[in-house]
Amino acid sequence: MALALQQLINGLTLGAVYGLIAIGYTMVYGIIGMINFAHGDIYMVSAFIAVTAFTALSMADISSVPLSLLLVLLVAVLFTSVYGWAVERTAYRPLRGSTRLAPLISAIGMSIFLQNMVQLTQGARVKPIAPVLVGGIDLLSVDGFTVRLAYSQILIVLVTVALMAGFTYLITKTSFGRQQRSCEQDRTMTALLGINVDRTISLTFMLGAALAAVAGVMVTVYYGVVDFYIGFVAGIKAFTAAVLGGIGSLPGAMLGGLIIGLIEAFWAAYLSAEYKDVATFAILILVLMFRPSGLLGRPEVEKV
């Protein structure tokens, strides 16, 4: 029982991070119908920015945890959004209107470029930071097993909930959200109505990158080490989450992330840590067999 509760906490934390990255995939797919394979590497870049910022802050003798977290978040979101914008501007926009395959290949190229850029400039070695948020709350203790809720886990879940609430508001209630949704439905018609489609798409990429940046900062705080390769595994898992939840659907991405996080946590604890990825992908296949458009995705209606 205690182990189950502990794994529920661990799984939710991991799932929240996957979900935050998955939203970036799903949003871009929703608006221009392409998979942005460089998204995982944008997340990796943000983790490096976070490490740099944490190190700079500790050198500047800023020891207040809330203040340094806030500053690092701001810096990471700012720089990573610029990355997101630049990637869209250089690798995808010139290819808009060409075949569907071209931006996909361009995205894979961008992913390799970002990985190698970080490896060359930052080195291949693992970059650690001193623990930022240590300790936690001991919830309950059964048979000598203490369920522990780390402060960093509380932070991750709270930040994710707040971001999701803000995001839902942005998409459903604001005029930018309306522009985004109309771009999703019909780009030509949206342009005819006087909306700057290119600008909306750029902003979407920046928003996705900003969410990945938050995930990158959270992971840096939680695990304490980053390297240039973390974007690959995280990107694949988040992409799976987006597909599982129904690509194109925002709540679906979050749901998919949580499901994958929980499957991994419980499988590792009760069966074997060895085959948890097999479990994740087996469930993805099962879901897609019975619901090809994902859990919350709507099947595309073919108009005659």
Binding site: A2, L3, Q6, Q7, N10, T13, L14, Q119, G123, A124, R125, V126, P128, A130, P131, V134, G136, D138, G144, F145, T146, R148, A150, S152, V219, Y223, G224, V225, D227, Y229, I230, V233, A234, E264, A265, W267, A268, A269, S272, A273, E274, K276, D277
Partner: protein, 364 residues
């Protein structure tokens, strides 16, 4: 054709001939990727050794020249590195580092008849009857015997888990540790595997915690141990870790922080304590390089080549192989001599402990 041009061509030909006259020796290992710091140690050791050998006039009157191959601990890349090195016509290889890279690459060197000295510890490296492979480090079955025996003796009645990372090295070592423990009547309480390269090991940590594990024997690399220790600390789990020779890497301490003080590991006797090596150790420290981990082994591998070639008066494969197998060589890691399989006859492994960012023999 006029004379200056002719002379120029002549000079060029001479220069080429000279360049080819160097003995090309190579190192290969993870120069990039998550284990790049080990590759860095190998490179520093080899570079210093070659500088020292060349300063004394080289080998058989010719200088040594170093080629560096990067396999990133990827078996596929290791084979392509091996083929590149064969094409460059190297006469000696020190590498690779990961057992999973060394095993496939050694077949390539064997076919091309290039002698190699490796620090990979998986028994299969020398068990396949390849005549060109020499191991200057111990074997996992020796290492596992020492580690497993130590655990059974010093952590009696404590719950011990054995975990590996599914790599050729990690699984091999973990299996040997578990075997040695069982033989001494201390059966592992838990046997687990993880996937290397991930970041989240909270599942494993919870499992260890709920099983009441106090000691974890780990077959694998330092990066994973650092992550597991960090996450165990976060989950309020205090445990001792027993690892293999890869834990000599100081990156473990930077990544795990103070939790690294709970790491024990087995490694060959510390070459830095070898009195005959004091001069070389000082040279490294003067150059601001701490000769930890594999630095001295890379140095010794180059000494092995130089001494064998001098003794054989040749760098042909036949002569080198015969001399290395039969001879005995004075290196910075002690006297090197090999058995029929190519395994090192040096005395085996010691148990070490990390303490405050330094490692030393564990106090009994």
């Amino acid at each position: 054709m006029n004379k200056p041009i002719l002379a120029g061509i002549g000079l060029l030909a001479l220069a080429c001939a000279n360049a080819h006259a160097d003995h090309l020796v190579a190192i290969a290992g993870p120069m990039t990727g998550q284990y790049a710091s080990a590759g860095d140690q190998i490179r520093k050791g080899a570079e210093q050794a070659i500088a020292d050998i060349n300063a004394k006039g080289g080998v058989l009157g010719q200088k040594l020249k170093l080629e560096v191959g990067d396999d990133a601990c990827d078996p596929k890349q290791a084979v392509s590195v091996a083929n590149t090195m064969v094409n460059k016509k190297i006469v000696f290889m020190h590498g690779h580092w990961c057992s999973s890279s060394t095993i496939p690459a050694s077949d390539v060197y064997n076919e091309a008849q290039i002698p190699m000295a490796t620090v990979s510890t998986n028994p299969q490296v020398t068990e396949r009857g390849l005549k060109n492979v020499f191991r200057i480090m111990g074997r996992d079955d020796q290492q596992g015997l020492v580690a497993g025996g130590y655990l059974a003796d010093h952590f009696k009645n404590k719950k011990i888990a054995v975990v590996d990372d599914k790599s050729a090295y990690g699984k091999g070592l973990a299996d040997e540790i578990a075997k040695a423990m069982t033989a001494k009547g201390a059966k592992p309480a838990l046997r687990e595997s993880i996937t290397a390269g991930e970041k989240d090991y909270s599942g494993l940590v919870s499992k260890l915690k709920s099983a009441g594990v106090e000691v974890m024997a780990f077959g694998g690399y330092h990066t994973e141990v650092a992550l597991i220790l960090r996450q165990a600390q976060q989950a309020g789990l205090k445990m001792t870790v027993m690892g293999g020779d890869t834990m000599t890497n100081s990156e473990l301490v930077t990544a795990a922080g103070p939790a690294a003080d709970n790491v024990l590991f087995t490694f060959a006797p510390d070459p830095r304590k070898n009195a005959a090596a004091a001069g070389v150790v000082k040279k490294f420290r003067d150059a601001k390089i701490e000769p930890e981990g594999y630095v001295m082994y890379a140095y010794a591998a180059m000494q092995l080549f130089a001494q064998a070639a001098d003794k054989a008066k040749s760098t042909s494969y036949k002569d080198l192989e015969k001399t290395m197998r039969e001879g005995s060589f004075d290196t910075v890691i002690g006297k090197l001599s090999f058995d029929a399989k190519g395994d090192n006859k040096l005395p085996g492994f010691m148990v070490y402990q990390w303490k405050g960012g330094q490692y030393d023999y564990v106090k009994k």
